[in-house]
């Protein structure tokens, strides 16, 4: 056999050479094979690592990239009221469309035509739209926010080039003015966007939630290293708040208040309804009010303020019940204790008279409240002593914040009770002049009378629902015992007498033992020392049913015209609202009554019937202005 494996002279040499080269070839092949083998093994393991071991993390990372922006922006918590059928949302996040134009996409020849169509669909000024569309260098011109469904459909049908829609989310208040000051609104204040006024402002931190974050590795130049892992801290949505407010009660309260303010041509008015046993606020209304969906259109921004918590005033004779309760609790007076009413008390050069300017002779303490005698409560205050009286005033919660979860609460001013030697200050304070209190403080103090002497903290938030689904129910809080249970029963019976025999007759509801006290206070002058002429604030505070009170209600009407006393303004307003409350909650009547009583009540309490909704009011005003034009 020739060639490599042949025998001969060179045969062995060739064979040897061949063996050597085979050996070398074999070694190189082996090395290559091993090399490929290890590379393949490395690739295999890497693939295994990527596809099997790290599968879930890479998948999560990919998903994070898709939803990254969604996860960084928290959704604002919503606010709910309650009613018998469950929850009623009062502040929600609504998604709608916004229309914008890209001027350079609109042909110059079509500007006129496009502007005409847009102005008709959006009810906007055509000239303004032409101006916007003519700005060829602008990339983006906003045409209209918060489009209605009808507008969205029409603009889509029109299919105009250069006119686009994009989604936008905003805070929406479906019941418009309902509980507007209580809930507040969301808007801009300088550079910051957030809750303004009401619960929206007070619970801003809880409602807005926590924004998410992305943590990137950065290189020496501060640039993000994209291949490095990034840590995404997801946003935490805001907490939903469920208020203690019943939306039906709130609506009826606002309805009655609006009618009362308009009927008595008052400057403004406030009503608070509190659940006696718990201190929960069932409704809190102020009028004039505003529409939080369109807050910028409000003529007087004073309407944003929740006067029920932020406006301290001299409450007048409603305070007499508290002075009397203090006297009863300290056993300085009893309901049948008598004194001689001379019609005036002289002190430090001042003469304090009764409101009716009469002297009534021998009077019991019950009669003092029935006839609202200033001299009578001065008698009680004298018996109590200045220091003791001041202590009671503080224990009732005056001069300090109640701690309600609402912004802008005022503490009132009881500094005049600091100088125990100045009797005149204490005499005037005994009938609610010379000290200022907020409607919320006043109703809380009355609620203590109704609640067996225990002062409750006013509660506005019933429950919090956190973004993880967990809930926190807020438990009603007792502040302190102010008067004994015996004193609270005695004062309740005396206040019942005020409604039956005294100035509070119009607050009575047939079939129920309603108790309460009127107050017609003078208004301190903002310009000079003393009081404003012809101005007063009518208040009525009371509760029902007397022996097992369910509701404590305060009505305050500021500067009613053509009405001299609160018994004709605040008291009937109170009566009408209390009747509604007792019927709405199905409280069983506690007293005998006749159909004639009911008919009489219905004839004299007509605020609810005279209520005009906003659209009706607008129609009425339009009709009036048309009639004027014709004439």
């Amino acid at each position: 056999m020739p060639a490599i494996f042949g025998k001969g002279k060179y045969g062995d040499f060739q064979k040897e050479n061949s063996e050597k080269s085979e050996h070398s070839f074999s070694w190189r092949i082996s090395a290559l094979v091993f090399f490929i083998f290890f590379i393949s093994l490395a690739i295999f393991f890497k693939l295994y690592f990527l596809q099997v071991i790290s599968y879930s993390s890479f998948r999560a990372l990919a998903e994070n990239q898709h939803n990254i922006f969604k996860k960084l922006v928290p959704e604002r918590g919503e606010i709910y009221l309650q009613d018998k059928s469950g929850l009623y949302p009062v502040a929600v996040n609504k998604e709608t469309k916004m229309a914008y134009a890209v001027p350079k996409e609109v042909n110059e020849g079509d500007i006129e035509k496009t502007a005409e169509a847009v102005s008709q669909i959006f009810s906007l000024d055509k000239v303004e739209i032409i101006d916007k569309l003519s700005k060829r260098e602008d990339m983006y011109e906003v045409l209209k926010h918060r489009l209605s469904d009808d507008e969205i459909n029409k603009i889509n049908e029109a299919n105009l080039s250069g006119i686009h829609l994009t989604s936008e989310s905003y805070r929406y208040y479906p019941s418009t003015e309902l509980a507007a000051q209580l809930v507040g609104f969301v808007g801009w204040s300088g550079d910051s966007f957030g809750g303004r006024y009401g619960i929206e402002a007070f619970s801003e931190e809880e409602l807005k939630g926590q924004e998410g974050n992305i943590f990137h590795s950065r290189d020496s130049g501060g640039r993000q290293i994209m291949i490095k892992e990034k840590e995404v801290q997801e946003a935490r949505d805001g907490t939903d708040l469920i208020l203690t407010i019943d939306h039906i009660v709130q609506y009826e309260t606002e309805k009655i208040l609006k009618s009362a303010v308009e009927k008595f041509q008052a400057d403004n008015g406030s009503i608070i309804v509190m659940e006696t046993k718990t201190g929960k606020i069932l409704s809190m209304a102020n009028y004039p009010t505003f529409d939080p969906n369109n807050y910028a259109a409000t003529e007087d921004i004073g309407a944003y303020r929740n006067l029920a918590v932020s406006s301290a005033y001299e409450c007048g004779s409603v305070f007499k019940a508290l002075t009397m309760a203090a006297g009863l609790d300290s056993n300085r007076v009893a309901p049948e204790t008598t004194y001689v009413d001379s019609g005036a008390v002289k002190e430090a050069g001042y003469t304090i008279r009764n409101s009716d300017l009469k002297s009534n002779g021998l009077q019991t303490m019950t009669q003092v409240l029935e006839n609202s005698l200033n001299t009578g409560v001065i008698f009680v205050e004298k018996n109590l002593g200045n220091k003791n009286f001041a202590d009671y005033v503080r224990r009732f919660g005056f001069g300090e914040l109640t701690g309600i979860d609402l912004p802008g609460e005022a503490a009132g001013n009881i500094r005049n009770l600091g100088n125990f030697k100045s009797d005149i200050q204490f005499f005037t304070a005994s009938f609610g002049q010379g000290i200022t209190v907020t409607p919320l403080q006043l109703i809380s103090a009355y609620n203590a009378l109704a609640n067996g002497g225990i002062l409750m903290k006013p509660q506005i938030v019933e429950k919090k629902i956190f973004s993880d689904g967990s809930e926190e129910r807020i438990i009603p809080e007792e502040v302190r015992r102010v008067i004994s249970e015996k004193a609270s029963l005695q004062i309740s019976q005396m206040l019942r007498s005020v409604v039956v025999n005294g100035h509070g007759k119009q607050a009575g509801v047939p079939g129920y033992a309603v108790v309460g006290k009127t107050g017609t206070a003078q208004v301190a002058s903002s310009k000079a020392k003393g009081y404003e002429d012809g101005m007063n604030v009518g208040s009525f505070v009371g509760y029902a049913p007397m022996n097992d009170s369910r509701f404590t209600v305060l009505v305050k009407i500021t500067n009613p015209k053509d009405v001299q006393w609160a018994e004709s303004s605040a008291a009937p307003t109170f009566g009408e609202l209390m009747k509604f409350l007792l019927e709405y909650y199905g409280i069983e009547p506690t007293e005998e009554y006749t159909q004639a009583d009911l008919n009489k009540f219905n004839q004299t309490h007509t605020l609810s019937q005279s209520f005009l909704r906003k659209d009706e009011e607008k129609e009425k005003n339009d009709k009036k202005s048309e009639d004027k034009k014709i004439n």
Binding site: F5, E19, S26, I29, S30, V33, I36, F37, S40, L41, I43, F44, L47, Q51, R59, A62, H66, Y88, P89, V92, K94, E95, Y172, P174, S175, T176, L178, H247, I248, Y251, E252, E583, E588, P589, Q595, L598, N599, N602, Q609, R613, K614, D615
Partner: protein, 142 residues
């Protein structure tokens, strides 16, 4: 001198690392002998180690190739499923938005303002007298 390598059964049985020559001499089963013995024979009859290594590499290459195909399939499948998930997520979002819109509509309709407005045409009368009945004895009321 001609030598014949006889491998007796006992060699396997004893598993001894040596061979016995016909003339009775014992030598170690060395590499050179083995190489001389295999020269000129068919490749398939060559040493097992070399063939196995190539086969293993070949198998590995096939595995890698197959892994590549599986990988491509998975990636493709993932991408398709990803699109599917995205599509379903978008549908969920749309339905959620619609749901929210309807909820808001429901809230608006539930507002007392609208309810009162809706009752206007019905000529309803306010109840002026509520009568409470007294239940004597254990009566089941529904």
């Amino acid at each position: 001198m001609s030598r014949t390598l006889v491998i007796q059964n006992g060699w396997f049985e004893n598993n001894a690392p040596k061979a016995k020559l016909s003339d009775g001499k014992k030598v170690f089963f060395g590499k050179n002998i083995s190489r001389k013995r295999v020269a000129g024979k068919k490749e398939s009859e060559l040493g097992g180690a070399k063939i196995k290594l190539v086969s293993v590499c070949f198998v590995f290459l096939i595995i890698i190739f197959l892994s590549g195909i599986v990988y491509l399939y998975q990636v493709n499948s993932l991408a398709t499923q990803g699109f599917e998930i995205k599509k379903i997520e978008n549908e969920i979002k749309t339905v959620e938005k619609e749901n929210k819109q309807l909820q808001i509509k429901e809230i608006e309709l539930r507002s007392m303002n609208n309810i009162e407005k809706a009752t206007e045409g019905l000529n309803l009368v306010n109840s002026s007298n509520v009568t409470y009945i007294e239940v004597a004895g254990p009566v089941a009321m529904k």
